[in-house]
Amino acid sequence: MAAAGPSVFLLMVSGQVESAQFPEYDDLYCKYCFVYGHDWAPTAGLEEGISQITSRSRDVPHALVWNFPIDITFKSTNPFGWPQIVLSVYGPDVFGNDVVRGYGAVHVPFSPGRHKRTIPMFVPESTSKLQKFTSWFMGRRPEYTDPKVVAQGEGREVTRVRSQGFVTLLFNVVTKDTRKLGYDTGPSDTQGVLGPSLPQGLPP
């Protein structure tokens, strides 16, 4: 193994769903899940999570803080289908029904290091005014059949969305062997580029 060089690279993501800004809304919780391509496989950690319900901060206006940890490690052979985190935020409406407050997605940062991302969130719009009213009244807002569609482009052209709030995420990204496989994602590091053919003195 040491001689052959790595055949996969690893991407470790830790971080947290820090906070959200949803003016007017309160008591929200969020779900996250990862969407990744065929060549990716999670090796450790949780692919999906659902956070606690958070209430609005009294000090900072509009801030809803979750600080909900994310920790996952992927392995892959191909940067195509780089993982994306899909967030969906839910909360009660005026009648107490649990409705969706926003969907959003962002790619896991490519380069190692600490990254902060603020994703704009959006919700699908009702197709008509009447439906808007009834959905509001009944507490059954339009939702995506699968939140993962927000991570893909296919089929989105049929939907209409309205933006709604922001979620701030913090990622700490560590990669392993990306450089050895020829994917230079980060800032130049001290190790230098080692070709995959070079024998690696890896400890067994």
């Binding site: 065929h38 060549d39 496989a41 191909n78 699908p124 009702s126 009834t134 339009p142």
Partner: protein, 1617 residues
């Protein structure tokens, strides 16, 4: 007080100012204030303190400060919130004020407090002041103590002043501090303000008294502020005492101070005027008016319109005039020195790049045949070759084209660094060059010679003796000669004069230069002019001179004399005329005189004498002396005097340049400047820089030698070649001096032959230098008085040569002329032409030429050049017409790897295939990171499939016809699949977003009704399970649940004792025929079975995907298990997508076995101590349910007929007495055994949606609308009933369903079988149809899409689902003369399906086309459970009866109340033609092929059986096998009926010693795999008795059209001992 006042001002403003203002102000102020500090303390604080006394407490001070300014309370209130807590006030009454709800109480208290305060106030008022005044005087850190007092000042000021004043003050405070302007009129000065503040304390208490109550509320609020203000004094006092606390105070004060300051500002308002004023300062609004041209151009420049001068100017992009004006105005104001404007005074603009028409040729519609020249041709991929690629058509011209540009050097004829001497030297050199050039040409000499020759010729012409050779010299010719001589002489004289003046100028310049050198006492240039005198022979010279003059004079004389003659002639004629006129006049006069005597009045008519011709003046004769004088003068002017030596100037560089140390400083400076300069050239090819020379330093002689040759390997047709001259001064930037355009060489100019040419350039650079350098573009004078100024511009010459290179083999690397016509540029240029003459015109050069002529193309437009050239080529006859059209010329540029290389990359290929969703790779993961990790075998399957697409392989498919069919099916499947893949990526909103439907009234009502519903109803309804979308599933998530409830009428064991018993009446055979007349059974019962003996011990085994589960063993022929079996489900390739699940072909086998115990104890003695039995299981029958049915139906619930082999040796179907009695009427119609099942998938999967593709149709639009309407109506009434009007045929078109029904002839063979029995024929036909293999569309086409193939297609494919079977059967029945309909309805287990209904004489029969069975209408075990609609050949009837069960409905379609017909009176049947063929052609199946197939199947099955028994020896009993083989044809001919007894008898006869268990299987033949599966599912191979033997026989009965009926007889034999 002045200083004081100023200071107060400073303080006030300092607090009011914003931070930034304060910073500015503070620095200045602090310096000021510090100076005055000491003084202040004495003069302000001191006295006042003495006057007022020391403050005693903060509490009393508060009101004193606030009350004077009641009007500003509102302003100050917000500021007075403070974090500091109020210290308890001495006067308790004050605290109560905060609660203003208790106003009354407060008032009273207030009065009391007031009286107190009044007394205290007077003493307290001044307290803040000393602090305030002192605090700025101390240090910065103390300022905050003065903050509140400062505000107070402000407030008081505001009290009096208008708001605007305060605003202005705020804003301008900094300025005011600096300049102290007089206060604006109407406003108090700062002094006044201060005084006001200082002296208004006395009336304050009074004011307080006047309106305390009104203010009580405000004051209540203000109390807080009081607290605030309390502290500073305390601190201030302390501070006076303890300076050491300053630091702390500062810290304390800081946080409060800033807050207070910020808040204290009043609302900001700016008057409109001020606003406008400010805006005017900041904003610039460019005017919309047109700018006069003179403004845009440099001074004294006339606008120059290049277009008028005939140069090409492209059309400018259209910009509205106003916008342009705005832009111009803006540019003029913002960057006047940047050259935004062109010579014509307009903004520089590139030509409009937008073409009026697209360059892509118009898309050709399919109807038109494509022009031959636009047809795409396959062109083999060419390896990317550098450099040649987009000289278009590079494939034909593989050479490189090369242009050699030799830049040898650069000479400046003027340079800013030229000294005066240089200027002269340059002039001299120039003149000398001119001189050299002239002398080289020596035109004067040439003209002299010519003159001589002409003279000779004239001489000869005049001399007749000599002119014998040239007889034809006429006088006219001589005249011509003479005139030529005249001309030549004039020319010569001019030349000679120029020569002479040139020489004179050279000498003059040289003299000037010499004098300059003397004057400046140094020499800059090595230039030296030497005048060489050439001695001439004076005499000869004089002679020649004289003769020359003489000849000239004589010639002139001659000329003049000729002229004179001529004039004389003229004179004479004129004179004659005049004379004649005169005479006439005179004659007239005479006449008149005579007449006058008679008529006096005529005299008046006499014309005045002046009217006649003037008397001509005779010309003066020429005088030789004058002429000679003239000639001599001229000659003297233009020619060397005789005897004067010939002067030949020679310019040499032999002179010495004075070294630097001898030069004056300015000159040294100049020389150093020159040294710092260097020059380089850029070579610009087609507006792109291609190379540049090295920077070479400028020599002292202003020559730069480059000597570089640039070889340009070009791919584009050269359009322009330009050199840019850049000069670098020191290390500072480079300046572009000039641009030199080089001509593109002719194609004949090749390297080596090209002369070095010089191209002049000049720059309009303006440089003025501070040393000896004369600069350029600046006036310069050589005269002492500065007159005679001249302006020299930087100029120079580049010597270069441009030529086409010569290749290695001597061929010039020149692009062929025609090449450029095909260049992509020209291809694009022609775009305009396309619109006018069409694409075909492009290849017609003549047409193009006429178009070009008509459209008046500008021939000078460089963009039209290729077109022009093309046209010129075309009109000259020879033309090269490209034979192809290329859309993406540059595509190859972007190919970074060749295609082969790309294809070789396995990883890339894998990625491609996966993204194309090729089935083999659809879910391949993960793709390895390296090529080397990808096994070659990954592609094997795929490649094999690709290969096999055209090759028919007979290995998998045992008979060739099936192979062909399978191939065809595969192709249809692929095409359909592709359509599905497209459709799959087409989303609707509902796919992505879950949205509630808009509730209508009924739903609302229903939901309201639901509210009233009982929470726990007595009869609960089943609630639907949650459906799971199939995408996020993995192996093991899905389970198949099979609930086996009970079975009826299981065959029972036949006691072995009755070996030779003849069949009795009581033992019923299977397959009792009872189509019309149920047989009545006498209630006799078998005597063979003693009561209580176990007849059969059945159990059920479910096998699915080779997983087997079984129930416990029950007893009796009507067992009840009620057990749930759970089988795991694995999707193929782990792909749980809908399409993949739909195409799962696996079947669920539900096998019923009989568990038989055999006593194996051989020794009876041991019977007491142990039981040794062997369990054997005997297969009784099975039910087969395809997984796709379960998947699509979600659940299957019902009673199924068990498929029991026709012959089940050892078993018979016995009825218990009870059963026969009790259920006779019900059961009488039924035959066979039944099992009740409930099958479902857990979790429930969402079945695939049908494709929402709108298929095109050839049906009439009206008909289609009618179908939609019909369907909508039906669906509205009975949403659950199937209504079918249109279907999709195999080519994907919508077809009206009745077109499928048409009488079609069944095979003649079948008709001949029972010529007299129509019922038997019908059954045979049904059997034939059922023998065609069943293959659901969902499986074959991976998606719910019902494709209906016509009957001939169906027979060709030999596979289809219910519809095809039903259609074929219905067509056969129609052809047999029956009344037949297609029944669309629901059946178990198929779900929505198609059956066939026939009408016999008195009743209806329902036929299952897939099994060939038929049922009476009232058969309870009929699998058809509901009827949606009936379809006949000419109409569709929808069931609108209350019930849909066939048992309960009336099939009489003529009743419109029961059946809604599609075609009715309002829409009559239009007579639709059928899609079915006229006739079906059946070819007889090759019997030999069938026999061969039979053998092969048998062999394969035997091998399989042996494979399944890996641990046991498998013996084959040949004898039994052959017996069975003989028996099978009998079964076929009788279709399994009425043969059992004979068979049994025969078997027993032959195999007397064996215990035999086995059965024949019957199935239609499609592939080998189902046969193997069927054999496997029977479990015959599972017997592990050591001495077991097997028998396996296969029989294939061929029916026409390759329909094969396969019989497999499997048996195990155990020798009885």
């Amino acid at each position: 007080m002045d200083s004081k006042e100023e200071k107060v001002k400073i303080i006030t403003e300092e607090f009011v100012e914003n931070d930034e203002d304060a910073d500015v102000g503070r620095k200045k102020k602090t310096s000021k204030t510090q100076r005055q500090k000491g003084k202040k303390q004495l003069c302000t604080a001191g006295p006042e303190e003495m006057v007022s006394g020391k403050p005693h407490g903060g509490s009393q001070q508060g009101p004193a400060q606030e009350d004077p300014d009641p009007d500003t309370h509102l302003l100050s209130i917000p500021a007075q919130r403070g974090p500091r807590s109020l210290p308890p006030l001495p006067s308790a009454s004050r605290t109560g004020f905060a609660e203003f709800s208790m106003r009354e109480r407060m008032r009273e208290k207030l009065k009391a407090a007031r009286s107190k305060a009044e007394s205290a106030l007077l003493q307290e008022i001044p307290t803040p002041r000393p602090r305030r005044l002192r605090s700025p005087g101390e240090k910065e850190l103390e300022t905050e103590f003065g903050a509140e007092p400062g505000k107070e000042t402000k407030r008081t000021a505001q009290d009096n002043d208008s708001q605007s004043y305060s605003r202005v003050k705020f804003r301008d405070c900094v300025r005011k501090v600096k300049s102290k302007p007089p206060p604006p009129p109407g406003f108090p000065s700062a002094e006044e303000a201060y005084n006001f503040f200082t002296f208004t304390f006395d009336p304050e208490p009074e004011e307080l008294e006047e309106k305390p109550k009104a203010k009580s509320r405000e004051r209540a609020n203000q109390e807080e502020a009081e607290g605030e203000e309390e502290e500073p004094p305390v601190q201030g006092d302390e501070e006076e005492l303890l300076n050491g606390r300053n630091e702390e105070d500062f810290l304390l004060g800081l946080d409060h101070g800033a807050e207070d300051f910020l808040v204290m500002r009043p609302a900001y308002y700016e008057s409109v005027h001020v606003q406008l004023q400010k805006e005017r300062e900041l904003l610039f609004i460019p005017s919309r008016l047109t700018v006069p041209t003179s403004k845009k151009l440099p001074e004294n420049m006339q606008p120059r319109f290049l277009e008028d001068e005939g140069l090409y100017i492209g059309t400018r992009p259209k910009v509205p005039r106003a916008t342009q004006n705005i832009m111009e105005n803006r540019l003029l104001v913002q960057e006047p020195d940047r050259r935004w404007f062109g010579d014509d005074g307009r903004i520089l603009a590139l030509p409009n790049p937008i073409r009026p028409s697209p360059s892509r040729p118009p898309a050709l519609t399919q109807e038109q045949d494509i022009h031959a020249e636009l047809e795409t041709l396959y062109k083999k991929a060419v390896r990317y070759v550098q450099r040649t690629q987009h000289m278009i058509g590079s494939g034909d011209f593989p050479e490189n084209f090369q242009l050699d540009i030799d830049i040898s050097g650069l000479i400046f004829t003027h340079h800013p660094c030229f000294s005066r001497e240089h200027v002269l030297a340059a002039k001299l050199a120039q003149l000398y060059d001119q001189y050299l050039a002239r002398s080289q040409r020596n035109k004067a000499q040439f003209l002299t010679d010519k003159l001589q020759a002409l003279r000779n010729a004239v001489q000869m012409g005049l001399d007749p003796e000599k002119s014998h050779s040239s007889v034809d010299i006429t006088p006219k010719a001589i005249n011509e000669y003479k005139s030529e001589i005249r001309e030549t002489r004039k020319l010569r004289d001019a030349e000679q004069e120029t020569d002479r003046t040139l020489l004179k100028t050279i000498i003059k310049v040289w003299k000037e230069m010499k004098s300059l050198r003397e004057f400046q006492r140094f020499t800059n240039t090595p230039l030296k002019l030497v005048l060489r005198k050439e001695k001439v022979d004076q005499k000869a010279d004089e002679e020649a001179y004289e003769t020359e003059i003489q000849t000239e004079i004589s010639e002139l004389l001659e000329e003049h004399s000729e002229e004179y003659e001529q004039k004389m002639e003229e004179y004479r004629t004129e004179y004659q005329q005049w004379k004649a006129w005169k005479k006439a006049q005179r004659a007239k006069k005479k006449k008149k005189k005579q007449a006058a005597e008679e008529h006096h009045d005529e005299e008046a008519e006499e014309p005045p004498p002046g009217d006649g011709p003037v008397k001509p003046i005779p010309p003066e004769p020429i005088r030789q002396a004058v002429l000679e004088q003239e000639v001599r003068e001229r000659v003297a002017r233009s020619r060397r005097r005789p005897g004067e030596p010939m002067l030949v100037p020679e310019l040499s560089l032999a002179g010495n340049v004075t070294p630097n140390d001898q030069c004056p400083r300015v000159e040294v400076l100049r020389r150093e400047d020159v040294k710092r300069r260097s020059v380089y050239l850029k070579v610009i090819f087609n507006d792109k820089e291609v190379s540049r020379t090295e920077g070479r330093p400028l020599g002292a002689d202003f020559r730069v030698h480059f000597g570089q040759i640039f070889s340009l390997q070009i791919v584009n047709w050269p359009e322009s070649l330009m050199l840019q001259v850049y000069e670098t001064v020191g290390h500072s930037g480079t300046t572009l001096l000039a641009e030199v355009f080089l001509p593109i060489p002719e194609t004949t100019v090749v390297t080596g032959r090209a002369p070095i040419e010089e191209v002049e350039f000049s720059s309009n650079q303006h440089v003025a230098l501070d040393h000896e350098g004369v600069g350029s573009g600046v006036p310069l004078s050589f005269e002492a008085d500065g007159s005679n100024q001249l302006i020299l511009m930087t100029s120079g010459k580049v010597s270069h040569s441009v030529a086409w290179a010569v290749g290695e083999n001597g061929t010039p690397l020149i692009p062929p002329l025609s090449q450029q016509n095909t260049g992509f540029r020209s291809a694009l240029k022609r775009a305009d032409a396309i619109s006018s003459i069409g694409t075909s015109g492009l290849t017609d050069m003549k047409k193009l030429a006429t178009w070009a002529a008509e459209s008046k193309l500008d021939p000078n437009d460089p963009s039209n050049a290729p077109l022009m050239q093309l046209i010129s080529v075309a009109t000259s006859g020879k033309s090269y017409v490209p034979e192809f059209f290329r859309l993406e010329q540059l595509q190859r540029e972007f190919d970074f790897v060749s295609d082969e290389e790309l294809n070789r990359a396995k990883r890339f290929r894998l990625l491609c295939l996966r993204s194309q969703e090729v089935p083999e790779f659809r879910n391949y993961k993960p793709i390895p990171a390296y090529d080397r990790e990808i096994m070659d075998k990954v592609f094997q399957d795929y490649e094999k499939r690709l290969r096999d697409r055209n090759v028919i392989e007979t290995k998998d498919h045992i008979d060739s016809h099936r192979a062909v069919v399978a191939k065809y099916l595969q192709q249809v499947r692929e095409s359909v699949l592709n359509r599905f893949l497209v459709a799959k990526h087409h989303f609707l909103l509902t796919d992505l977003v879950i949205e509630e439907e808009v509730p209508n009234i009924s739903i609302l009502g229903l939901s309201l009704f639901k509210l009233a519903e009982q929470k726990r109803p007595l009869r609960p309804r089943r609630k639907g399970r949650k459906k799971v979308t199939a995408q996020n599933l993995s192996d093991g998530d899905i389970k198949l649940l099979v609930n086996i409830i009970r079975a009826y009428d299981i065959p029972v064991r036949r006691p072995t004792t009755s070996k030779f018993q003849q069949p009795s009446r009581s033992s019923r055979t299977f397959r009792e025929r009872h189509a019309a007349s149920p047989t009545t059974h006498s209630p006799t019962h078998s005597a063979d079975y003693p009561l209580g003996q176990v007849l059969v011990r059945p159990f059920v085994e479910v096998s699915f995907q080779r997983t087997i589960c079984h129930t416990t063993t029950a007893e009796g022929p009507n067992p009840s298990w009620n057990e749930e079996l759970e089988l795991p489900f694995r999707a193929p390739n782990g792909d749980y997508s809908t399409t993949s699940l739909q195409s799962v072909k696996d079947d669920v086998f539900i096998n019923i076995f009989d568990e038989v115990l055999f006593d194996v104890l051989e020794d009876d003695r041991e019977r007491g101590s142990g039981i040794h039995t062997r369990i054997e299981r005997h297969w009784l029958g099975c039910v087969k349910i395809p997984f796709s049915t379960i998947y699509c139906q979600a659940r299957i619930d019902g009673t199924f007929k068990i498929d029991i082999p026709p012959v089940l040796l050892g078993y018979s179907k016995e009825r218990s007495v009870l059963a026969e009695r009790g259920f006779e009427p019900v059961r009488s119609l039924s035959e066979g055994s039944y099992i009740t099942l409930f099958v479902t998938i857990e979790p429930q999967l969402v079945p695939g949606e049908s494709v929402r593709e709108k298929f095109d149709s050839q049906e009439d639009e009206k008909l289609l609308q009618a179908t939609e309407k019909f369907q909508a109506e039906c669906a509205f009434k009975f949403p659950n009933r199937q209504c079918l009007t249109t279907v999709i045929d195999i080519s994907g078109k919508t077809v009206f369903v009745t077109r499928y029904l048409k009488p079609l002839n069944p095979p003649q063979e079948l008709l001949n079988a029972y010529p007299n029995n129509p019922q038997a024929t019908a059954e045979l036909v049904a059997r034939y149809v059922s023998l065609i293999p069943f293959l659901p569309d969902a499986v074959s086409f991976a998606g719910v899409c019902d494709l209906w193939s016509t009957s001939d297609q169906f027979l060709d494919l030999l596979a289809g689902d219910e519809e095809e079977h039903a259609v074929l059967l219905c067509n056969y029945f129609l052809s047999l003369g029956k009344k037949a309909w297609l029944v669309m309805g629901n059946a178990i287990p198929e779900g929505p399906t198609a059956y066939v209904l026939t009408r016999e004489q008195s009743h209806y029969l329902i036929w299952n086309p897939c099994s060939g069975h038929f049922y009476g209408q009232f058969d309870t075990f009929c699998p058809l459970k509901s009827v949606g609609c009936l379809i006949g050949p000419d109409n569709i009837w929808f069931n609108i009866q209350r019930y849909d069960s066939p048992l309960r409905i009336n099939f009489d379609v003529t009743k419109p109340k029961l059946w809604k017909s599609f075609f009715s009176r309002s829409l009559p049947y239009p007579g639709l033609s059928s899609v079915q063929p006229e006739e079906l052609v059946y070819q007889r199946t090759d019997k030999a092929a069938a026999a061969e197939l039979q053998d092969r199947i048998e062999k394969i099955l035997k091998e399989k059986v042996m494979d399944w028994r890996p641990r046991h020896l498998t013996r084959w009993n040949r004898y039994c096998t052959s017996t069975l083989r003989h028996f099978l044809p009998l079964l076929e001919s009788s279709r399994g009926e009425e043969v059992e007894e004979d068979h049994r008898a025969e078997l027993l006869k032959q195999l007397g010693d064996y215990r035999f268990s086995g059965f024949p299987l019957h199935m239609p033949y499609s592939e080998l795999k189902p046969l193997i599966e069927a054999v496997y599912s029977t479990g015959v191979h599972n017997i592990d008795v050591p001495n077991v033997e097997f028998a396996l026989a296969v029989y294939i009965h061929p029916y026409p059209k390759n329909v094969l009926s396969v019989w497999i007889y499997v048996a195990s034999l155990i020798r009885n001992r």
